[in-house]
Point group: D4
Chain length 248, copies 8
């Protein structure tokens, strides 16, 4: 691209001034392929981290995204905030458990094959699990939910293991001692994104216990995101899932 | 006992002075039933914590115990120290992996029924597991070892679960993420003593990870001892095992 | 059981298809003896961890348990929640200090012998102590309470030590510096379950201080559960107490 | 498989006893699809964690793997240990910087397309980076190395960004403040496995600083493994890379 | 005392049974001199830790103390609670900044000589400083206050140093970086009780910063109590001050 | 100065008593040049840390400063408090985002040359960034704001880097992983004051993550202030900026 | 003193120049009473912290102190270092367990009354206990040792409690769970200086456990010094003991 | 610069190909002003962090720098390593206490005015202080050393305060409680770079105590670098010192 511009100047097809303007954008980005890569992601919603933002800030950003005709996902929005926003932009769907607002403007033309498994230890981890599941769905990926299969009753997990094994990637969510990813990791051969939750009390230290467990897992093939980061777990899984659907 | 002494004084069978001398010991103890309880423990070895003690200190204490004709268990003795001690007291048996010295002077008259399960996640946890197993055996309790049955390969555990279920109590030892006690806890109905080990690296923080995992276990019936405390794990298990062998 | 099924197929008493259906359950569980062990626990209430659950969730789970005709214990329920639940299921008894809801449908046929000692350092640790005491009672075990016997006034403990010594197991609860289990541990020969509480301030770090104290106890025979986990402390004690009441 | 066995018994082609023996293995595993999944992994080396194992232990395990005709990868082996092992099994290749021993018995029949980018902040992180790079190569995956491209000189990274963007997955390794994955994460659209290292001093706290940075990354699409776990980073990347080479 | 009782039994002045009853109390206490020492403390108020106690609990304990005709000090009582209590027991004086309730029934007969210096870094540390000052006064000790003399303006401290030097003991209170005790420690020769406060934010970690500073002081003669423990700081100082007023 | 006084006494121009009075002040300060240095700072506002102070305390201190005819800056004042204060002293300007109250009585006679760059990673760090920016402006220094230029989108920073490079000093503010100062540090040659914020969740631990990142920065020329300390960051920058405007 | 100098100048007995020289020292100190206070301490040895100092540095400082004719105490000197030093200054006495070097040049003229109790939990805490005991003796104070009286065998403490109660102050030393000061604190009425030791392993975290225990003690009258700081514990006790021997 | 190149192409003075090559460098850097800024720094040595590098690695990098005719500073080199390096490159000067190697090829043409104060609490902090002092000198800046002026003897600091006040910037180094920067900060009006050291033991936690103290300083105008980072402290000070010598 740089070559093209310079050739045009050499051949008198472009003035030095015009070339400078053209290159300015280029310079500001400092690298040429970003846009190209962004294009591959088309259909991805733009994501707004709702925590700590006022309803009017969320509305402003949402309208800016709508103007670009893209899908919108707002995470960590409580009910009260969601209702204020929906009064202005009623097409948003609000998922109360997951605390997500979502609006789909464009459809994926070619649906992806396969599914992501969302595996979750206890019912109290469900807020994070649903944040993950709905995020993945918002990104156009099929999701299968395996909830309440914690390690203290290993048979519940084993009863579902074959369907989990057939997923392209699992997001495994657990609070308290956070042992579930290790056990799942020993039973499947695909990548596992582990999400510790802050569920627990006392020596749990707001999720530190589950986080350390997952980082120290003796099973290979497990990587970890921040405590309660259901969105991040799903985002990682979606990124992997898309690769599995691409031609290299 | 207090009553007896006072009766003797009342009846002139004992002088006030003699009674005072007798009661002095009693007073120092401050409570009368300790001895009675100690008697129940007969056959228990006296235990010396070897770490940070010189060979000559260990020899002195050992000889004092021998004079009372009791079994001796010395924990955390490295090989070099053990050899110096064995030159002086060659009847000691040294267990190198467990770093224990043991000598049995008296035999349990009535063997106890049942066994303790020593369950261990990885081969690198074996030093702690053997410290536990040999400690329990030194206390006259039958032990069954289930080693290398970590959660990343859950089938190894399931293959042995029935024999573990029949134990009176399990000592479950694990490093790294320390998830094994939670899984065992969901499969057995007897008490579990969990022993975290310092095996691991990085975010393991010298066993902190496994310790927190065990304290936060979502399975009930699990209690925890200090990191690498194989002796303590076994001691707790033996205490429980003896109760299971007693008549209340 | 597996043998029986296969024999029937061999003998034409069962079709391969029927056998497969039968074994499916078996496979899902992955181990055959769980039920057998569960039976031993009969009379145990099912336990619901009430924290973070809505009243309607607790009601749903409670009704499911009632349908199976079992006792119900709900822990960590505040007063407001309890009142909503009691409007629907008025047979529940609510213990405000311990924050427990309990309902007993079936009675233990044979009462167990002996008792558990619940030993507690200060009056502010009482919420946890009562959670432990009432839990044990819900499991059909006799409990004796020894409250406000903290180490700063050691004579209060010594005055009660004989009755504590006669228990099968002690649950020892303490906040602040958490030294009580060590002292009790030196005076009794039965197992001790230590429960740190979050009572304290400053360098207490929400119970961390007491937790570390208990894990580092120089007295043998002490194992530890999570901070404020009165339920867990009692559950462990009950498990031990039952073993002491069984024939091996 | 269960169906097959039962059919054979029904048809008298297999006795009940033979079927029981066959199913015993099945039961021990508790789930049928593991082998099937393991097959997909063929060509994967068996991995031995060398730290804390004696040369003779490593030799024993190596010989057992060789008997199964599989590739062998031994991680965390220092030079001295490696030399003892190579005396016995001279076909091993030793990589001193990465502290790896490797032996390839079988070749991948179909080479995989694409490559993994190993991106590394400083020269002192090279031990971990090489552990990752050589691990991935041992698993039959092409690797491209981008070393010494830390954030304090962002132009070094930008000069290479296009080639990194074309990888299927990046393993990004950094010590000290660990900011590199965040920056790379903003420039690529494929998954990133972040590996914190313990390089640094003072408030680095043996890699804790880099670990926290990576877990808190404001860039999406980043997941994290344990401190200094180059092997784990590569293993995760390989798992993703294989999915990208498979047909779903 | 033991001797006396035994002599009486020997001489028939007391029956064995009466002696046993008498000794029972003795045994329960386990040590004879406590009371004697308690007597030395006469004039000391009984102290109630008010935090976490209900007004009615505080009222009950207060009435019990009044019945013994002793002074009462209640710490950590907020205004609302204090008003409820004062409705019932209006003779209490409430100190709002220090959050103390106090009532003096008996007067020290002989006033003690000398004074305690309460030295305090910032105005925001005043709650703790006043808790200390009023506590010491409640124990009958003269107090001199040196407030707002933090190390960032060292001349404020130097302007008062002579009067501080003449105290028998200093209680030095500081939050944030907690450096004041070190500086005072280099300027006086009497004992210093250092009290860290939780004043600060961010890397202060609720007083941890000041606590560590004080424990690591390079000045000798400084010992430390818990974060925000103004009462404890004063109690220690009073104990020392009394010794300075006694004849050995 | 000391010399002058003594000479006067020697020459009988001053009595010993007068000299003593004069020297008393001198002694209290202990050093003579402080005032001289304070004079250099003229135009600096007096700063009140508003957190934890009541409106009436802030009013009292403000009036005392006004009496000395100096500028006033009050930090960390919430809206409610600000309104009460403004009722009494309506000339104050309140900046709601930055939570600052400011009043300028005197003007800098000679404006300083150059500007400070306030660089900020995300919109949620804006409270701290504005505290820094407005503080610097209150001290009479020109400020340029570069907000929302976090490392996950490095081109936003590069687009502004030349203007940042021309500042005398940068205050770089970031939460979450806190990587921004490292990246800026590699691109500019002037001093950088890094301010970690508490923005983030989970393993962020209230800003600890960003703090450690900044302390461990591999870029030289970066020093760090407390978490959320926008005022402190600006104060340091202003001190440096003034030096750049002085003649040595 | 200032007054005297000025009077002399006024009366022509001293030149302004001489006065200035005299006052220079005064000015450097900034406060007049330090010397006066130092005088009270006569007989106190000068203390050298030996850790991290070379033998030749210790020799240099020792000779400088000898020149002033004062006692010398060197703490934390290992055997090897001590031998090098003793070759040059053979009059030093070396205490190997306590790792102290001591030399007494001058004698206390009037011996102090009373004694300090050094109370110690386990034999492994003896290095710290002896550092404390010998330090106090070096300062000319009588010491009584009560070793190996840890809380796990409370009767050993009770047997000695009367002699401990008669001390002016106790230094109570304990590692592991560090509960001893709390128990002693409930039994004596004099001040207690608590010294945590780093004895222990695992969740002891190098003495953190004992330190937190002591800071959180529910017994009043306890203050704490740094981990393993036997010298500091004794220094505090000596300071208190001297006050008890003075006339106020 | 971009404009110039394009103009040349437009005017036929440069081919498109040549322009592309020229711009390639430009593109790699992504920003044009870096070199310009680097020029301002001329005379700055290139710095090699020696820790963890082999002598031959250091030699290679040194030779590469020499080829560019620049000064070289190698930090954290122990004596043994230094001697190997000096055999090859004997013109290096080695500073053993500071563990620095330095070689000056070019001289500053115009010496800078003013000096940096290196202020240090104790003799054991000297390694870090000398690393700072020699680093600043290597950068061509005059340094004045104020060692052993810790807060426990405040008069030593006051005796030197005027000379410290006249510096352009102070680097204040302290271990243990780290209070010195706060005190200096209250006495000077120039910027202070605080360097915590790891000197101390027990609750010092390898410098954490001093680090927290400095971050929480109640004195304004203090910013902090990593523990033991004498080089970083000096580098920051030099950056500020240069600004004070420049014309804006």
């Amino acid at each position: 691209m740089l070559e093209d511009i310079l050739k045009k100047v050499e051949n008198g097809l472009m003035s030095a001034e015009e070339a400078e303007r053209e290159l300015a954008t280029f310079e500001n980005l400092g690298f040429a392929k970003v846009d190209h890569h962004r294009k591959k992601r088309q259909g991805f919603p733009e994501v707004i981290f709702g925590e700590g933002k006022t309803p009017s800030q969320i509305l402003d950003i949402s309208r800016a995204i709508l103007a670009k005709n893209e899908n919108i996902l707002v995470t960590r929005v409580d009910k009260e905030k969601a209702e204020i926003i929906k009064k202005e932009l009623p097409f948003f769907t609000y998922h109360e458990i997951a605390q997500l607002l979502f609006y789909k403007t464009i459809e994926e033309t070619v649906p992806m094959k396969g599914y992501i498994a969302i595996v979750c230890a206890g019912t109290s981890d469900m807020r994070v699990a649903e944040e993950a599941a709905l995020t993945a769905e918002a990104f156009g990926v099929e999701v299968r939910r395996f909830y309440d299969v914690g390690v203290a009753g290993i048979h519940r997990l084993l009863a579902n293991i074959e369907e989990i094994q057939k997923a392209t990637v699992s997001v495994v969510i657990a609070g308290m001692e956070g042992a579930l990813p290790s056990v799942v990791g020993g039973l499947v051969s695909h990548p596992i994104i582990a999400v510790p939750t802050s569920i627990g009390y006392g020596a749990n230290f707001q999720g530190l216990s589950a986080l350390l467990t997952m980082l120290n897992s003796c099973a290979s093939g497990i990587s970890v995101v921040n405590i309660d980061n259901g969105f991040g777990g799903a985002y990682n899984a979606v990124t992997i899932h898309r690769i599995a659907n691409q031609q290299i």
